[in-house]
Symmetry: C2
Subunit: 203 residues, 2 copies
DNA sequence: GCGTATACGATACATTCGTATCACAACATC
DNA sequence: GATGTTGTGATACGAATGTATCGTATACGC
């Protein structure tokens, strides 16, 4: 077999091309031909590595998923063991907000997929509920530990705070993408929220 | 002229058909023909009332905008003059969350448009920044008055709180649409946030 | 060295899309 | 009642898209 290039590697290459097209011109501009052109290969090649367009789209979605959890895990692992809980949460928010170009592209495509999944039942909606749920429980754990250490006011409900954090950053993220917020105003909103969240309260 | 039906009325009829199609099968399923079929008219008619597809899409977007501000204004006008500030904010959130079917459809289509506007420069992105900004300042005004009345703790920053409220409900809304949240969990999150927002704080 | 599975090019096909064209009916104005 | 504007149907056209088909070159097992 003329396995001149690795099969999985070539598929990854095509997926990257898809994501580039989607980030630049939208998910609706993703066609077999546009992906082929972006990757610099023939239409037949895209067909060869992905029998159908649906399969290609799904592969790209799966790669987005794994890329997201990988990046988040790397961010957390890079922090010292005894980092201040607020700093950990801040690291999460920095990752979850589409600030730089790459992050912006990622979130744009992810949101495009989410909107598509709202009406297309064949596209699995599972990633869009499982992923956030994992993040939510993870965040809740962090907050719970912070509370045990006395670094988060007792009045706060860790699970509810995690939900709030996630919804807030998600909302800020899309507001940033459509141009309602700038990177600075979004960051300010996050800082304000964390101030309100972590400052001690006495009734 | 055989003005058997009002021009504007017919256009409105077609726009409604578009929104129904978009809510059911997604904005990508909106074609001249699908809109015609949904409205029960011929393709030629859609062409006649909207020279181009872009014009049809824009008209639908404008109707969404106006429908949104109208509904919000009606909600506020329905409240007694001296309603508790928290109740006013709650009325806003009830309107902004896609709880019932109609509201769900509205938010789904709106989000679809927003995602489209992220990559398509010809589609005006202005509605997606102007609309939220108006709501934000309006909310900030309400909160500021509440603070003057002593019904909102002094530690809160009205403008920042308005931003937070908007981003939170927006994030909860899309989470609801993709199935991450249920109506109940979203409502709980809102209630929790309002509790944290309005309860007195003494340092 | 020969068959065979893998990898890829070129091209064709049916469908769908936005848009254009041709025809005609209804009504208003003079 | 001729005429022109407005409203509506039927159909056509070119472009784009997903997918299928035919052909061929490369490399490996034997």
């Amino acid at each position: 077999m003329p396995r001149r290039v690795d099969h999985a590697e070539r598929r990854g290459h095509l997926v990257v091309a898809l994501l580039r097209v989607a980030a630049r011109h939208g998910l609706h501009a993703v066609t077999m031909r546009s992906v082929a052109a972006e990757a610099g290969v023939s239409l037949r090649l895209v067909q060869y590595y992905f029998d159908t367009k649906a399969e290609l789209l799904l592969a790209a979605l799966r790669q987005l998923e794994q890329q997201s959890s990988q990046r988040w895990a790397a961010r957390v692992a890079a922090l010292p063991q005894d980092t201040d809980p607020r700093a950990v949460v801040e690291a999460f928010l920095a990752e979850a907000l589409p600030t730089d170009g790459a992050s912006r592209d990622f979130h744009l495509v992810w949101t495009s997929y989410a909107v598509l999944a709202m009406t297309d039942p064949d596209l699995a909606a599972q990633p869009f509920v499982d992923g956030p749920r994992r993040l939510e429980t993870h965040l809740a754990d962090i907050l719970r530990r912070a509370q045990d250490q006395g670094r988060l006011p007792a009045g706060r409900e860790p699970a509810a705070e995690a939900t709030r954090l996630l919804a807030l950053t998600h909302g800020l993220g899309t507001s940033l993408l459509v141009g309602h917020h700038s990177v600075d105003t979004a960051r300010d909103a996050v800082t304000y929220h964390l101030d309100q969240l972590f400052t001690e309260v006495e009734r």
